[in-house]
Subunit: 381 residues, 2 copies
């Protein structure tokens, strides 16, 4: 087992009605005014917006509104948020929404306290030394952004979907109420399931070391995601299934599964980020296309772990059966499992590979993944 630092100071408030405590929680931390970040209005339709506002007002926490975050959130919008913070007396960022909203909130929190361009953090030209505190109320379980310090933002000018990571961006408090996730469409439930599984398997397959406990943890997460997704496809308001799905999602990318593994890498995310930067496909849909292709290409490099995956997760006897069972499961829940199914032309493979390679270099995978090898992977898709 390799050496590691595990440090996750995010406090999770999990359960029904917890969003009604947000004003009190902020006031306890001495927060006077927040930037209230949200998406394209679904929180207004659902009534969540109103409950949050009431809670803030009850505790005399002021707010400046900043809606309009879209999926695959944009740098230009983040910069608007940063300007809003700088123009007002704001001492925390409150994100209410899914991964895109929380990722935007973190980027704003990092960019609002410096004079340099926030994108410099994403291209490793500057490092994050401070940030405003971030608070979240999560409405979609997938990104685990509520329990880590990561943020993924798309620069629409350069067509780069890049990321930052710092414990300074770990939310101080995240509120996870599974009831808020019950209105998620079946389509997005499927994409979320794929995303959580992707977070779980990236390091599981690519790590230097495979401690049994961490492998078991990953298998536990995947089994939980599969069984709860199947329940939720039939019964979207099943509270316990939503709750287990949400908690498994947070565990998949909070630093626990990767501790001691010597650090693997994220090739499926690397390729998917190129897909969604170029085609604006949903992240989970892009991953469903990439994962089975990558697994077929990669399996010989770590055959024993692929055999273990097949056996422990699906009770299958070979690496190949494990891969095809996972691919069929993605298909069964309605996620696209090939480029054509995702309406992405095969002719785009060279462009996708080129874009992905930029990120491979950025993430220290430039040696392991050439443009040619990314094209080989996509040939399976």
């Amino acid at each position: 087992m390799d050496s590691f630092t595990y440090y996750n100071p995010t406090r999770i408030e999990f359960g029904r009605n917890k969003e009604n405590t947000i004003g009190e929680l902020l006031a306890q931390d001495g927060i006077k005014q927040v930037l209230l970040v949200y998406g394209t209005g679904s929180i207004k339709k659902s009534g969540l917006y109103q409950r949050v506002i009431e809670s803030l007002e009850k505790s005399c926490v002021q707010y400046v509104e900043f809606g309009g975050v879209i999926s695959n959130p944009l740098l230009s919008h983040v910069n608007e948020g940063i300007n809003l913070v700088k123009a007002n007396n704001i001492d925390a960022v409150l994100g209410v929404g899914g991964g895109s909203v929380i990722d935007s909130s973190k980027a704003i929190a990092a960019g609002a306290v410096v004079e340099t361009d926030v994108w410099d953090f994403f291209i490793n030209k500057a490092s994050i030394e401070k940030a405003l505190p971030v608070y979240t109320i999560v409405t979609l379980a997938a990104a685990a952004s509520e329990m880590n310090g990561n943020s993924v933002i798309t620069n629409e000018v350069t067509k780069q979907k890049y990321s930052i990571a710092s414990v300074l961006l770990n939310p101080k408090i995240s509120i996870v109420n599974p009831e808020l996730m019950m209105s998620v469409t079946k389509e997005y439930l499927a994409y979320s399931a794929v995303d959580i599984i992707a977070h779980s398997i990236e390091v599981y397959f690519t790590a230097v070391d495979h401690p049994n406990f961490q492998s078991r943890l990953v298998e536990s997460i995947i089994k939980t995601v599969i069984e709860t997704t199947e329940i939720l496809m039939e019964d979207p308001t099943n509270y316990d299934a939503r709750a287990e799905f949400a908690w498994a999602s947070s565990q998949a990318l909070n630093g626990l599964t990767t501790s001691g593994t010597g650090g693997g890498n994220f090739p499926n995310h690397m390729i998917e980020h190129a897909l969604s930067a170029l085609f604006n496909i949903a992240h989970g849909a892009g991953l469903a296309i990439v994962i089975p292709a990558w697994m077929k290409w990669y399996k010989e490099k770590n055959l024993s772990q692929f055999e273990r995956f097949a056996k422990e997760v699906f009770g299958k006897d070979s690496a190949d059966e494990g891969i095809t069972t996972l691919q069929r499961w993605f298909d069964s829940i309605g996620a696209p499992v090939s480029l054509p199914k995702g309406n992405i032309p095969r002719e785009a493979i060279p462009e996708i590979a080129q874009n992905a390679y930029g990120l491979a270099t950025m993430w220290g995978m430039g040696d392991a993944y050439s443009v040619k090898s990314i094209e080989e992977i996509l040939a399976y898709a």
Copy 2:
């Protein structure tokens, strides 16, 4: 799944030689002088003491020494430590040792900042509102004290082994170097394994709710502990086995396995605390006596979870087989599995039950565990 708060702000620094960074880590946090708490001198024999001192001196962190913590640590000794802090200009407590040392460090950290008697916290007469920061270097994996806010102290006057819990007592940083654990005797390795399993199963069996993910997590911890204990009995210096054992130990009692379970209780610890308060038996040895007895007594109250345990952990088909397999495994590693094997006379059962009942009341189990039912449990031991 029940509502919960998960908040574990302890930073873990895990791996070889990490103890040599303690001075730097303390200096980074602005700590000028620590109370250096340790046990009966094994850290001096092993050379760890010297390395810690060198690291502190290199970073100009001053220290006041406070050795002499014994297993089942004593209130009188904690009070000496509190007086030492109050008489000096000390801004943190650094515990170097096993669970007893860390538990003592926490009690000192809580007691040193108030004028009231620290024992008031243990008997619920006062609540912990502040504490000095605690840092730890762990030499024995068992208590998980390095990653939680719990402290168990024995009042030798009243013969009460009672506990406190507060996130304010969570160590700020804990250093876990598996190499420091290689000199643990086989006897204490066995007791540690039993202790970790005890932490895992208490809530697993007694919880209001049993989310699958949390149950899987517990089963993963137990399987990891069993397989690594068997490796370490043959090969005590196996680094990877020590490392997995240590990390599983931290996970067993850091709040993760119990999140969403609606809160179970700790009947095995309740009875064991009476055993060790009265007979000064090692905690893990006492647990090996209590656990199989309690399981036999309790199994009908939650049969499906006992059947699940038998199947998932041991591949057995019935609750009874699960219990006897665990008991035989405790026996095989050299832990006492009955009162006679622990040299505790059966005649002491009424006295043990009476003492345990005091704790049952304290821990809110007074309704579920009468003196008579504790006697019934001990009749199986």
